[in-house]
C-alpha cells in the first residue's frame, strides 16, 4: 500500500490481515456480549451436564443391591453371589435378618429383595440383574448340594463337564472394526455439521444485519467486501469450534470420567481426522451462507435465500453414508475429492480404508480453491447489493451492479 502526503501521520494504514482480524474480533466479542447467544450456549451446557448427571445418578449404584436373607446361606451361595455381582460390575450385600423385619425393610426400600428359603420377596418387580444373580447363586448352591447328596465325586464331575471353548477364525478380521470406525466418523461428522448449520446461520444473519442496519456503507469505505466476509468467517468459525469443543468436550469428559460408556480407542483418532476437515468444510459452507445472505437486505427475506444453501451440507452428509457402506467404490474415491463433499466423505473413507496421499492433497487443494472462489464471489455480490435497501436481488444483477460499486476484488 502506498502512503500519500496527507496530514494523518499519526494514523497508519492497516494491512489487509489486520483489518480481517479486527472484523473477526468484533464478531467474537459482540457474540460473547450477546445475551441470546450466551443463553443458548448456557442451555447447551446445562443440557449436556444434565444428560451426564442423570446417567451418573441412574447408573452409579444401579448395580449395587442390598438383599435381606432369612436363615443361613451356604458358602457356595455367597461365593456365587459375589462372582455373579462382579459379572454385572455391581455389588450385592447380604444382610441376615428375620422375616418380619426383612419385609418392613423391603417395603421402605432398604432392601432391594428378601430371600426366604426358595422365595424372593420384592416390593414390586424384581430388578433383572439382581434376579439373575440371585437365581444363579441359588442354582449353584442347590446343584452343589444335590451333587454332594447323590454321592458323585465332584472332581470327576468337574472334569466331565469341562469342555475347551471353540476357536474362532475370521476371514476379514478388520471389516467390522473398520465399519465401526466409519460409524464413529459419521457421528463425528454429523455433530460437526449440526454445529456448522448453527454457525452458518450466524454468518448469514451477520451479513444481513450489516445491510439492514446500513452500517455497510461505513464499512465499505475502509474494508473490502472479501476482507469483511473473511473476517466474519474466521471470527464466527473460531466461535463455532470453541462451541464444538466445549459442548463435545464437556460431554466426552463427563462420559469418560464416570465410565458411562466404553469409548473405543479408535474414536480419538477418528475425531482428530474430522476436525481439520470440519474447518475446511465450515469455511466453504459458511461462505455459501454469506453469498446467499448477500442477496437479501432484510432478516425477513433471509430464510428463503439460505434454503438452497442448507441443502449442500445435507447432500454431503448423505454422501458420507454411501461411503460407509462401500468405502472402496469408485463413487467413494471420486466424491471424497469433490469440493463441498470431501469434508464429509474423506474422513469417513480415510478411517475405513487407506487413502493414497495424492488423493488427500487433491481433495484439500480443490476445497481451498473452492473456498477462495466462493468468498470472492460472495464479496462481489455483497458489493453489488450493498446500496439496495429492500427486496431480494438476483445473483446476475448483483454481479453486474458490483462493477459500478467499489471494493470489488478487481479494484485496488
Amino acid at each position: 500500500m502506498s502512503t500519500h502526503g496527507t496530514q494523518r501521520e499519526t494514523v497508519a494504514a492497516r494491512p489487509a490481515m489486520s483489518l480481517i482480524w479486527l472484523v473477526a474480533k468484533r464478531e467474537i466479542t459482540s457474540k460473547l456480549k450477546d445475551k441470546t447467544y450466551l443463553i443458548s450456549i448456557g442451555f447447551f451446557i446445562v443440557l449436556i451436564l444434565a444428560v451426564v448427571g442423570i446417567n451418573v445418578a441412574t447408573n452409579s449404584g444401579s448395580n449395587d443391591f442390598t438383599v435381606g436373607v432369612v436363615g443361613q446361606t451356604s458358602q457356595t451361595f455367597q461365593q456365587a453371589i459375589k462372582s455373579g455381582a462382579d459379572q454385572f460390575d455391581g455389588k450385592v450385600t447380604l444382610e441376615y435378618t428375620n422375616e418380619a423385619d426383612g419385609k418392613t425393610k423391603v417395603k421402605n426400600g432398604d432392601f432391594d429383595a428378601l430371600v426366604v428359603g426358595d422365595t424372593i420377596i420384592t416390593k414390586d418387580t424384581l430388578n433383572t440383574t439382581l434376579g439373575a444373580v440371585l437365581q444363579g447363586a441359588n442354582k449353584a448352591a442347590k446343584t452343589q448340594q444335590q451333587i454332594e447328596s447323590s454321592g458323585i465325586d465332584p472332581q470327576k464331575l468337574d472334569q466331565a463337564l469341562t469342555v475347551p471353548p471353540m476357536q474362532t477364525q475370521a476371514l476379514n478380521p478388520d471389516a467390522k472394526t473398520n465399519f465401526e470406525r466409519g460409524i464413529i466418523a459419521i457421528i463425528a461428522v454429523g455433530v460437526a455439521y449440526g454445529m456448522l448449520m448453527i454457525v452458518g446461520q450466524f454468518v448469514a444473519q451477520g451479513v444481513v444485519e450489516e445491510k439492514s442496519s446500513r452500517v455497510i456503507e461505513l464499512l465499505m469505505a475502509v474494508v473490502k467486501p472479501w476482507q469483511l466476509l473473511t473476517g466474519k468467517l474466521i471470527g464466527l468459525g473460531i466461535l463455532g469450534i470453541l462451541q464444538l469443543v466445549l459442548v463435545v468436550g464437556l460431554g466426552l469428559a463427563g462420559v469418560l470420567s464416570f465410565n458411562l460408556i466404553a469409548v473405543p480407542s479408535a474414536a480419538v483418532g477418528v475425531v482428530l481426522q474430522v476436525v481439520p476437515w470440519f474447518i475446511l468444510g465450515y469455511t466453504l459452507f459458511a461462505a455459501f451462507f454469506a453469498l446467499a445472505a448477500s442477496l437479501v437486505s432484510r432478516q425477513e427475506d433471509l430464510g428463503s435465500a439460505v434454503m438452497p444453501v442448507t441443502l449442500v451440507p445435507i447432500f454431503a452428509f448423505f454422501a458420507a453414508f454411501q461411503v460407509v457402506s462401500s468405502p472402496n467404490s469408485t463413487f467413494a474415491t471420486i466424491i471424497s475429492m469433490v469440493p463441498g463433499f470431501s469434508p464429509t466423505t474423506m474422513p469417513v473413507r480415510a478411517v475405513m480404508v487407506s487413502v493414497p496421499i495424492w488423493q488427500y492433497v487433491i481433495a484439500v487443494i480443490l476445497q481451498v480453491i473452492a473456498i477462495v472462489l466462493v468468498v470472492r464471489l460472495a464479496g462481489r455480490v455483497y458489493a453489488g447489493s450493498m446500496l439496495r435497501t429492500s427486496g431480494k436481488i438476483k445473483l446476475k444483477d448483483a454481479l453486474k451492479q458490483s462493477k459500478e460499486t467499489a471494493g470489488t476484488p478487481a479494484q485496488a
Partner: protein, 296 residues
C-alpha cells in the same frame, strides 16, 4: 483541496450526475444544497468510492482519491448505519481501529467524542436503547473519532433538536478551523447560511451555483427593494410605478424594480407617500438564491 472533477454517473438510462464540477478548500465549510433527487447522496457516495463514476474523478491534493485516502475521510451516510446491538463506545472504538488507530487511542477518542457531543446514555446501553437524537450524535462521532482529514456528511442535522444542532455545528466548525474541508448536505438553508463559507447548489446532477455565500448573494443582491414607510395606508404600494412582484405587509413592502437603475425614481415616489423609515436593497436569504438557481 478536494476536487470533484467532471464526474458523471448514470443508473441505467437515468443520468444522475452530469459533468459535475466543484472544489472544497482545506478548512472550508461547504454546504451542499439541492432538491430531493438532485444527486447529493450519489455525489457523496462517489467521493467515498462506494460508487464508481463513468467519467471524471475525485482528487485530494491532486491525487486521485483511492482506498488509502478514503481511509482518512469521515463519512456520515444518509441512511444512518451503526450496529444496533453494540455499545456506542465499542463501535466507535471499532471504527477508529478500522481507520488505523490503535485500540487504546481509539477508545480514548471514542469516549471523548461521546462526552463532547453530549450523548445521553447508560454506559451499558446498546445503541438501539438510545433516543434517535442520541443515536445521531453517535453516528456523527463515528465520522469524527479517527480525526479525519476530510469530512463528508449527508444530512447531518436532520432530525436534531436545536441544542444538538449547536453541539454538532460546534464540532464541525472546530474541525474546519483545524484545516479539514467539511462538506455537508442539508435542506435547512438557514443553517447552511449560518455555518458555511461556501455553498454548492446542485440540480439534476449539475452544479447550478457554487461559490462563497457572499458572492452568490451579491449576484442576487440588486433585485429586491425593501421599503418601510411610517404610517403608510394599506394599498400604498399601488402608488409606485415601474415595480412588480410586490408583497406588502403593513408599512413594509418588498418589490422588484423593472431595472436596478430605477431605484432613485422609486425612492422619489415613495417619499411622497410618507416619511421613509427604511429604503434599500434586500440581502437575499439563501432560500431565494436556491430557488433562483434551481428555476434558472
Amino acid at each position: 483541496m478536494l476536487v470533484v472533477d467532471h464526474v458523471s454517473k448514470s443508473f441505467g438510462a437515468k443520468r444522475v450526475l452530469d459533468d459535475l464540477v466543484f472544489a472544497i478548500k482545506p478548512g472550508e465549510m461547504f454546504g451542499f444544497c439541492g432538491a430531493n433527487g438532485a444527486g447529493k447522496t450519489t455525489t457523496m457516495r462517489v467521493i467515498l468510492g462506494l460508487l464508481t463514476p463513468e467519467a471524471g474523478q475525485v482528487t485530494w491534493n491532486g491525487t486521485k482519491v483511492d482506498r488509502e485516502i478514503r481511509r482518512t475521510i469521515g463519512y456520515m451516510p444518509e441512511e444512518r448505519g451503526l450496529y444496533p446491538k453494540m455499545r456506542p463506545v465499542d463501535q466507535l472504538q471499532y471504527f477508529g481501529q478500522l481507520h488505523g488507530m490503535t485500540a487504546a487511542s481509539a477508545r480514548k477518542s471514542a469516549e471523548e467524542w461521546i462526552e463532547r457531543l453530549g450523548v445521553k446514555m447508560e454506559a451499558k446501553d446498546p445503541l438501539d436503547k438510545l433516543s434517535l437524537g442520541n443515536q445521531q450524535k453517535v453516528q456523527l462521532a463515528s465520522a469524527l473519532v479517527f480525526d479525519p482529514a476530510i469530512l463528508v456528511l449527508d444530512e447531518p442535522f436532520s432530525g436534531l433538536d436545536p441544542v444538538a444542532v449547536d453541539a454538532l455545528a460546534d464540532g464541525l466548525l472546530e474541525k474546519a478551523k483545524a484545516g479539514v474541508p467539511v462538506i455537508f448536505s442539508s435542506h435547512q438553508l438557514d443553517l447552511v447560511e449560518r455555518l458555511c463559507d461556501s455553498v454548492g447548489i446542485i440540480n439534476n446532477g449539475t452544479m447550478v451555483a457554487t461559490g462563497p455565500v457572499d458572492e452568490l448573494r451579491a449576484k442576487e443582491s440588486r433585485k429586491r427593494l425593501e421599503i418601510v414607510i411610517t404610517g403608510a395606508q394599506p394599498g400604498w404600494t399601488e402608488q409606485l410605478s415601474g415595480v412588480s412582484a410586490i408583497s406588502e405587509t403593513g408599512t413594509r413592502a418588498l418589490m422588484t424594480p423593472d431595472s436596478p437603475e430605477m431605484s432613485q425614481q422609486i425612492l422619489a415616489e415613495a417619499m411622497k407617500i410618507g416619511p421613509i423609515e427604511r429604503f434599500g436593497w434586500r440581502t437575499p436569504p439563501l432560500t431565494e438564491i436556491f430557488r433562483e438557481a434551481i428555476v434558472a
